[in-house]
């Protein structure tokens, strides 16, 4: 496995005539939990879509697990969970996962395992439309975990979840990372930043900082990561 799960050089994305990603270069360490943080609309989702190869880019180079982003070989290595749960609401939990399991080529034993892993045991027969927002989000997450991807790209996976569930999920993310999975997780909630090994701070399509939570605290002299982020924004002076 390469040391870097993701390498980006000079990425530019233009959507509807507006630059959404402006000359971003970054690296994500293999086996790390990397948080992608920044206010809504700062380009987090676009950056993630560029990494999974779903985004038409205007310039730059995105390399994932040593290959150009989006090549077909990567489709069984990279898992992507969109912010809005992308599952079939008119099917049961089990039917959804069985279908995605067929697509990625894993057996039904793995489906059972994954259902338990995201805490949906006992919900297999429920129609997704009848589940709560958090439960639906976990069905979507489970679909991406089925084939144990080497890189997991999760767009705001904890949004709208209660604190208990949120901490459960973060425990799962760390467990996955220990097993060798690289996780790139976006959030606009700064209190989740402390859970990450590495932080990518974004604002208005630019990457402001790439550091560890401790580095950010030390550099700004703020204990609170939310304040530290604001401090960084003020210092970069383009507010």
């Amino acid at each position: 496995m390469p040391d870097r799960a993701v390498e980006i050089e000079g990425l530019e994305v233009i959507r509807g005539g507006n630059p959404v990603i402006r000359s971003i270069s970054l690296e994500v360490d293999a086996g790390s939990v990397t948080g992608l943080l920044g206010p809504s609309g700062c380009g987090k989702t676009t950056l993630m879509r560029s990494i999974v190869g779903a985004q038409i880019v205007a310039g730059g180079r995105v390399s994932v697990l040593g290959r150009p982003a989006g090549v077909s070989e990567l489709r069984s290595e990279v898992g992507y969970v969109t912010q809005a749960p992308s599952v079939y609401r008119d099917l049961t939990v089990r039917e959804n996962l069985d279908y995605f399991a067929h697509v990625v080529g894993v057996g039904s034993g793995r489906v059972t395992e994954t259902v338990e892993a995201v805490g949906l045991g006992g919900y297999e027969g429920r129609i997704v439309a009848s589940l709560s927002g958090g439960e639906t989000a976990r069905v979507s997450l489970a679909s991406a975990l089925l084939n144990r991807p080497r890189l997991l790209v999760l767009d705001e996976p904890t949004v709208g979840l209660d604190p208990l569930l949120r901490s459960d999920l973060w425990r799962d993310f760390h467990r996955l990372a220990e097993a060798g999975t690289t996780l790139l997780i976006s959030s606009h909630v700064m209190d989740e930043a402390g859970e990450c090994d590495q932080l990518l701070l974004m604002r208005e399509g630019r990457l402001l900082r790439h550091c560890t939570p401790d580095q950010l605290r030390r550099e700004t002299g703020e204990r609170d990561l939310g304040r530290a982020f604001l401090e960084v924004i003020e210092r970069t002076g383009d507010a």
């Binding site: 779903a54 069984s76 990279v78 969109t82 609401r89 008119d90 279908y99 067929h102 697509v103």
Partner: protein, 253 residues
Amino acid sequence: MHERSGTIVSPRITVATGGRVLRQVRHDPRTIALLLAVPALLLTLMKFVFDGQEQVFQSIGAPLCGLFPFIVMFLITSITMLRERTTGTLERLMTLPMSKLDLLMGYGLAFGVLAAAQAVVVCLVGFGLLGLNAPHGTLLVGLLAIFNALLGMAMGLFLSAFARTEFQAVQFMPAFIFPQLLLCGLFAARDEMAPLLEAASWLLPFTYAYDALERAVSPQPLGSAIVVDVLVVAGATVASLALGALTLKRRTP
């Protein structure tokens, strides 16, 4: 070269996709009831409307048995595909090791099965109970119905890419199907239409779908023309699927 490269058709994924679409329909029993009952009920209504005009009922009702599935599958496919786009499941599938053809053929499988079920009911009612004639066998009408349904599905799949809402998608039915229904020869003989309209009718796939059915339910011996009709319908299906595949994008702006 690479296993599961996502560019080669996989029977496993195709069948799973067909099964998934059918399961979605199964969770919606009212849709199944409508799907099976409405064509038969409309045909029955038509029987009473044309009471005493057996010839008219035969010339319109009999081909309609094989045209209903076209219309219905066009509508259902465009809505299903639109939902797949708007709920993000299409985007997910496009990031997975699955080829576009797996998705399209899976849809074909599912809607082919539904069309067959619909054709069985409408043919049993039409030819069994309402006294319509199929001199060359009901089976032929049923097979043509499935072919036509697949054409309807393929066109619905393609056109759904141009609808952003379900309101728009349902409007495509009157916009794209009604003109074809009017020009195909079912309601007015094509050779009696204005030359421009007749010429236009030659360009519309529905015309060939109707022509094949008209031959299948007429007492004249089956010529080779019906083969040509079926080939045109099949060709239009493949062309629509190919256009549909172009609208499935792995990368979007």
